[in-house]
Homo-oligomer: 150 residues x 2
DNA sequence: TTTCATGTAATAATAATAGTTACGAATTCA
DNA sequence: TGAATTCGTAACTATTATTATTACATGAAA
């Protein structure tokens, strides 16, 4: 896994889990996401805590979706991962004794809060089912191209 | 200077530069922003390159605003610092061979692009003059409180 | 009871950012 | 001219945050 793009990676994982019927192990997901099994567990643990996925141990164990694709939005995932991903931009000092800084921080906070609100709203409009459908469309398109060429 | 809050720090600096009539040296700004003079130079150099501030060497030199406060918005500063501050969230892989990932990234990019567009629009509505005025308001308020208490 | 898989703590490695040191170049003033 | 400033930058170090790894315990299934 790279950079701070955990959201992208997790969505990726969830769609692969959906394609598969049975649970996927941390090792399988780690290969899929090009990261380490322990990192997968740590990340998925957060999703399990809010009821988005389930985990099971022993034979036949692993990670599985806890809800149908239609009932999960990108916002759910974003929130489960701990929203401050972006937008944290904590203002310079936590103890704003300087009145200039108070004025600056107030204006910045306003703008960033609004932008994040819009982001969250947009993420809430897209379900995993929609993503899966978009994937299918791309797949069909890709296959058509492939058949044309050979 | 702390964290990734360069935007906040720079706005802070510019307002202090405005209060003062004469240019401020990197050393003075460094004290004001609790950072290092070299860091100040590096940061301010970006603003100078887009014509927001001027720099002068030797006696009486230092940094000064190149435009009136009314003619600079928070967006100008945000852009000059290199927008990808937040929002960079580069999707997991740069070579998206996986169609699942393509679908995910497309959806995420849409949402983040819209949110950043809103952020930039909001930042563009606030001039440094407005921030200065808000500061004055806070100062008056503060002084009133102080006089009441003794 | 052996094998498989998660749970988690502790540690190491990486990457991004910020801070330092050092010195060169340009400007002012005596 | 020469000394005092002050920015301009490169090179290096330090710090911080994130990610990856190791190791082992816990629980479940065959």
């Amino acid at each position: 896994m790279k950079r701070n793009s955990r959201l992208s990676a997790v969505l990726h994982a969830l769609l692969h889990m959906a394609e598969r019927g049975a649970p996927m192990t941390s090792d399988e997901l780690a290969v899929c996401l090009q990261t380490n099994p322990v990192v997968v567990r740590r990340t998925m643990a957060g999703l399990r805590d809010v009821g988005l996925v389930t985990s099971g141990r022993g034979h036949g164990g692993g990670w599985a979706l806890a809800r149908p694709l239609e009932a999960v939005t990108m916002r759910d995932i974003y929130s489960a991962l701990g929203e401050p991903m972006l937008f944290q931009m904590g203002n310079a000092t936590e103890s704003p004794g300087c009145l200039v800084e108070q004025a600056v921080n107030h204006a910045l906070d306003d703008a960033f809060r609004d932008a994040e609100a819009m982001l969250i709203a947009r993420l809430g409009e897209v379900t995993l089912a929609m993503l899966a459908q978009d994937f299918k469309r791309r797949f069909a398109e890709h296959r058509a191209l492939y058949q044309n060429k050979g």
